[in-house]
Subunit: 520 residues, 2 copies
Amino acid sequence: MNTPRILSTPGANAYAYPLLIRHLLANVANQTDAEIVSGELRFGYRAFVDRVTRLAALLTARGVRAGDTVAVMDWDSHRYLECYFAIPMMGAILQTVNVRLSPAQIDFTLRQSGASFLLHHADFAPLCAQLLLALPQIGGLIVMDGADEDNDYEALIAAASPDFIFGDFDENAIATTFHTTGTTGDPKQVFFSHRQLVLHTIALAATLANQPDGQGMRRTNVYMPMTPMFHVHAWGMPYVATMLGVKQVYPGRYDPATLLALKRREGVDFSHCVPTILRMLLDANAAGGDSLAPWTFVIGGSALPAALAQEAEMAGITILAGYGMSETGPVVALARGLQPDVAKCCRAGFPAILVQARIDMDKGGELLLRAPWLTQGYATQPDSDTLWADGWMHTGDVAALDGDGALRIVDRLKDVIKSGGEWVSSVDLEDLLVALPGVAEAGVIAMPDAKWGERPVAFIVAARGAPPPDMDLLCVQLQQHVASGRISRYAIPERLVLVEALPRTSVGKIDKKALRAMLA
Amino acid sequence: MNTPRILSTPGANAYAYPLLIRHLLANVANQTDAEIVSGELRFGYRAFVDRVTRLAALLTARGVRAGDTVAVMDWDSHRYLECYFAIPMMGAILQTVNVRLSPAQIDFTLRQSGASFLLHHADFAPLCAQLLLALPQIGGLIVMDGADEDNDYEALIAAASPDFIFGDFDENAIATTFHTTGTTGDPKQVFFSHRQLVLHTIALAATLANQPDGQGMRRTNVYMPMTPMFHVHAWGMPYVATMLGVKQVYPGRYDPATLLALKRREGVDFSHCVPTILRMLLDANAAGGDSLAPWTFVIGGSALPAALAQEAEMAGITILAGYGMSETGPVVALARGLQPDVAKCCRAGFPAILVQARIDMDKGGELLLRAPWLTQGYATQPDSDTLWADGWMHTGDVAALDGDGALRIVDRLKDVIKSGGEWVSSVDLEDLLVALPGVAEAGVIAMPDAKWGERPVAFIVAARGAPPPDMDLLCVQLQQHVASGRISRYAIPERLVLVEALPRTSVGKIDKKALRAMLA
């Protein structure tokens, strides 16, 4: 025998346990007294499981069947969490719609997903009414938290049958789908199966709980997402929190004052967000100036500037970077830092359990990945075949692996600037600029140059309440980093442009396509 | 569409990540400075991965191929740990041989496993020489830690190629197999696939790391097994510890003085064992009397008497029960306790992540289980079909589910005593007896009775150095628990028999079959 052997005598009635999202709820209702808090509502996990069951019964009564796609447009709420479970658990596909896209893009994503049912918050009623005129395939509709009393989520859940039976099916069935918005072209649809989400959840739970004390999420934390739930499963954290029976707080539409008030009222001590939201919270807290400790933030979505991390630490926030993409489920790596070594907390971090990371020096240092939860493709075959080559997912990110095993993301492959034969990282340069006096934000892009190939150009947003910084002085201040060897002399920007604000994508990243258009 | 949908456009070169044991090593070598300590050896994880690779190259050079079975007979060592990885990773099957069985039983297990290669410690050389005469199918042999210089494990590893490439294969391939010894009949062979062991490892890692502080294992613990590695993967803990890059200490053959010395020298703070080993360690430590804190023990294999747990807590050990069987991988449940609520720590504990537990009241309260890592069968079909019925594994244990979600094991189904129409738990009675003055150990079985159906009989071992307890007085002392309602009056034993020692099975459980024979 030269092939591995499979068991030839399994029990005739043995249960070949499929990895299904419903199994994440195996025993949580019995084991925790924690609550789920959302707006004025708060309830325990027994009630949560009951509500998930009723939602499935409700959707079934409205005609939703296994294999159908159900789209959701909502702020972060208990309703969204219930959709995270009920819709995949009934064998249907949850489409999380990015409500920050333009109406034309939302139309595109709804159309491509083939959704036949839509649950939306009342805030999106005018938009949805308009969209649905052109989307007759969407036959069913429930308004969440809505003014329409006959069609209100809470009333419908209360009236629904509590007896829906969730069955088993292939663990490779699609559980969720959503669209990722790159900076070019149409949004791309990614897919995650039950197996992938279960593996992401248990591996992430093990990774988070093994973080140094106060740098992860364990059963005893109080969790509040500050990444939209339409964005890559809110980084998979709601699945982890629910499996563990953690107390969860859902903040609705993000408003800094509300987020800070919830943190204090409910004892929130674990969250995650993009740098922009962190910036917003620090500004909102600056008025009061009280310490926010204990509060751990995982920061992802775009690079975490060291200066911002430092400011957060001073406000009592424990900060660490995570790394992932829409295509990766998303968590691939997580920083572990010992304060006050802020620089270490700003790296993409240590590849998580089961994640294989490789750096392809033949392709400019591109980061290649394998993990059990990476999307296996997009909606269209050619895009899928570009994403995967030689059995490795191509991230489009340039990365380096530090001696201690942590990843550093150098830049997006397409944002790296090649000047005078030297590679200049736009991310590095932004980080250094933001640390200079008077600079709040910086975005760096390449400008074509006849002599040097490309030259860096920096867009600068001045710090609030301070006089705008002198552009020439900034260049002089950058020279110290040339002297110290941190950057090459080619990295000194050719031009610095003062702007009111940086253009951002729907998920808060600097929109470099828009910057390039501004330059042109 | 009324069935769940599978993605129709995966990338042509997408990697459908199989759950293989080699993936547990994905990035550990880069991320830890911890050491693996065994006898005089100590090395880091980079060296560990190199050694695993060399072991696979060595076995390949000796003719071992995917699908072959390789048997191992050793004490707890780095060599065993290397076999845990190298043998399954090459697609072969690791058979962990229970060296405490009789020669005839070991012969039976080697024969049934179809092993073609054997690695054994020098301590077993005479036994193996004799066994191999009748087992010509075992063609290859390596002596571990042996006197035979030409065939010594360390020398062979050093000389082996460092370049073996581990490939991918079906995640349902068998990774490990071993025999469970019930108290009746021949040992039964169980099987675990790569998928099962990977899922057991990551779910156990998440469960352990989410224990209250000081009651589980996290990245920063120092781990030493005190359950033999031939026994259900040493409860799966070496796989968890290795995946996380934890410092590990392998103690060789168990000797109380050595275990205590290693604990102190290496800073061991997490272990697991059966109650008998705990008893032995407490006795050995009594002489010195020093506190053993910090040291967490997961106790399993048989019920943990509250009196023993209390004594351990007084010696500085944090104690909690776990529950599992050879058939279950093994971990199914783990206690979480707040000291000094020792009774809660002695329960079987909370079903772990993904574990479904059901109590079948139609079958006398038998505990039924589902989890992704339960053996799918035994070597023979009829046994497999008895183990699994209606898609649930039948544990043969009688259990109850407490209000807080924790399992309590009442008794083995076949050890429960039915007296005067009342169920009497032999485990309960043993626990109460051991708590009485002068009693060190107690074993309770049923004696047929014409009038009452069955009556309990207790075998008592006196505490060391104390006068033997008076049997009538013990019955009087038990009456207080009748008065308090803890046990029924039928539970007062019909007879108490003072014995020198209780017969034990090879894994340290009270051998009730032998007690019944003694009684007859």
